[in-house]
């Protein structure tokens, strides 16, 4: 807990010292952290490897943009509409994807998200295809403009803290204990009276909702949405962030998101082939800390303490 408070204070003070570029980079890390944390609910706590989670980020972003552009409504209508729509979609997709677990689940989530990606790319009259949707504005909650880097930083910071707190509560609850049970020993869980399928489905919907929240933040930040947000690459980056940071831990997806975003946005300014570097970093992590950076560092730290 002390570590979390320390992190909170550091992040709350960061815009006072950081330059605009770094503040924006941090905002993007927050957005990606919410996305990765929602994947972690499925992968880390439910043992369900999803390769289609970009669907929820992308659809929430597109819905919010379309409600604004096509219906001319404000954010007060667009944001709830996007979240409700995304959550309902997660409920429907869950019915399909959870017909399987393991690799079957992975392939079904991938297939479903690819359908959406293809739709966003081809349905030009609605999505403007490969051009993406432009001309979007950030919301102004309570009349506060979020156009400045610091203002948006605090907005995404607050949403991220709320999101992480809700997800942390969820996995620490009795329901969360049952969810982890279905991950470790599904057969035994049903023999103990737990409805394994329903537990997974509810978690799938919950993860879809938070994926949608990250999508809203994403579209607010960029003021633009392109089909690439729905792509396999985006889903895979989220999944890799969770695995690199440490799946099934609260801090893992946050650290993983920071690693991916720093490599993608910062290092890419210096190294042209940043994708290669990203791959290399993942190989190093998997070789030396197969359980992820957060549990890995904890393990090395304990070893260091016991030696000293």
């Amino acid at each position: 807990m002390k570590g979390w408070i320390f992190l909170f204070v550091i992040l709350a003070l960061f815009p006072l010292v950081g330059g605009e570029y770094y503040i924006n980079l941090a905002s993007q890390i927050f957005i990606f952290a919410v996305f990765a944390a929602s994947i972690n609910l499925l992968l880390g706590y439910g043992g369900l490897p999803t390769l289609g989670h970009a669907a929820y980020l992308g659809v929430a972003a597109y819905l919010s943009a379309l409600v604004a552009l096509k219906l001319g409504m404000g954010h007060l209508a667009a944001a709830p509409a996007a979240l409700v729509g995304t959550t309902l979609m997660a409920a429907a997709f869950g019915l399909i994807a959870l017909r399987a677990t393991g690799l079957g689940f992975l392939m079904l989530t991938l297939a479903l998200s690819q359908v959406l990606w293809g739709t966003a790319l081809r349905w030009v009259s609605m999505t403007d295809g490969d051009n993406g949707l432009r001309g979007l504005a950030r919301p102004a909650p309570f009349g506060i403009s979020l156009d400045g880097a610091a203002a948006f930083y605090y907005f995404s910071f607050i949403i991220t803290v709320i999101a992480i707190a809700f997800m942390a509560r969820f996995v620490a609850s009795p329901f969360g204990a049952a969810l982890k049970g279905t991950r470790d020993q599904a057969r035994r869980m049903s023999a103990l009276g737990h409805d394994v399928w329903l537990i997974r489905w509810l978690t799938f919907i919950y993860a879809g909702f938070w994926g949608g929240v990250s999508g809203l933040l994403f579209v607010y930040y960029h003021k633009y949405i392109h089909p690439v947000s729905l792509s396999l690459a985006n889903s895979a980056e989220g999944l890799l962030a969770v695995i690199a940071g440490g799946s099934g831990t609260l801090a893992g997806p946050l650290v993983g998101a920071a690693i991916v975003m720093l490599l993608k946005n910062y290092v890419s300014g210096y190294v042209e082939r940043w994708n290669m570097l990203l791959g290399f970093v993942f190989v190093v992590i998997v070789v030396f800390m197969p359980e992820g950076v957060v549990p890995g560092v904890q393990r090395l730290w304990r070893r260091y303490i016991s030696k000293a």
């Binding site: 969820f170 009795p174 329901f175 969360g176 103990l192």
Partner: protein
């Protein structure tokens, strides 16, 4: 009243009958032993009763309520509990947490995703562990305790739910003589409100634990009766001694 009633149940795996027209009635409060050599279909029968497998035909009743098509977890809520021949626990979690998951399975609180904590059942879990003599290991992860203790935990998880019918799948398998003694004692101490159906493949170790015995062979019931009747029946000897 019959606690468990099975009506001409059949199950085949790829044309090979594992359970071939089995009918069985276990009265409430009874201690029933099902024996038979390896491959007789004992565990398959349990998996059918528990709901892990669906039969090809036949019907299953729990206290006169048909459960043939009910999902595994629904059968548990009707009072059915089981243990596994191959120990099936949550190895990374503590003994206490294992019991807690069992208590949670029948509690409405299992749907609570925002309030409460997974530590709610601690007191109750401690009592359950005390009943099987494992309270001193409550905080230890399952992976760190001895095999015999895992066996007792298996049974404790089922007993924690105060089941009306308890299926024990080879609860003595792989245990040393002393461990066997303590597990036998534990089973003998199960209250009569719980009907116990137990599988064993080794006849000698388990005979004294049951009132009625069913001998299963190639998926069929070949002998059923009291201990003396079953032991005296030549068909029993044929199965076990092969002549």
């Amino acid at each position: 009243m019959a606690a468990l009633h099975i009506q001409s149940l059949k199950k085949a795996f790829g044309g090979l009958p594992a359970i071939n027209d089995v009918s069985l009635t276990v009265e409430a409060g009874e201690r029933r032993l099902i024996i038979g050599p390896n491959g007789a279909g004992k565990t398959t029968l349990f998996n059918l009763v528990a709901g892990d497998l669906r039969g090809d035909s036949g019907r299953i009743f729990l206290f006169d309520q048909e459960i043939t098509r009910k999902a595994t977890h629904r059968r548990v809520h009707l009072g059915l509990a089981r243990t596994y021949q191959i120990i099936t626990l949550f190895p990374k979690d503590t003994l206490e947490h294992n019991i807690m998951l069992s208590l949670l399975g029948l509690s409405q609180r299992r749907w609570n995703a925002f309030g409460g904590s997974s530590g709610e059942f601690v007191q109750e879990a401690k009592q359950v562990l005390a009943r099987v003599g494992l309270e001193h290991l409550a905080q230890r992860p399952v992976s760190e305790v001895a095999y015999g203790e895992k066996r007792r935990l298996e049974i404790a998880m089922a007993l924690a739910q105060k089941p009306r019918v308890l299926l024990l799948d080879e609860p003595l398998a792989g245990l040393s003589r002393e461990e066997r003694g303590s597990v036998k004692q534990l089973i003998a101490g199960i209250p009569r409100e719980t009907t116990v159906v137990m599988i064993e493949h080794d006849m000698d170790t388990a005979l004294d634990m049951a009132e009625r015995i069913t001998v299963l062979h190639y998926g069929r019931v070949i002998v059923e009766g009291t201990r003396a009747e079953v032991v005296a029946d030549p068909k029993t000897r044929e199965v076990y001694l092969g002549h």
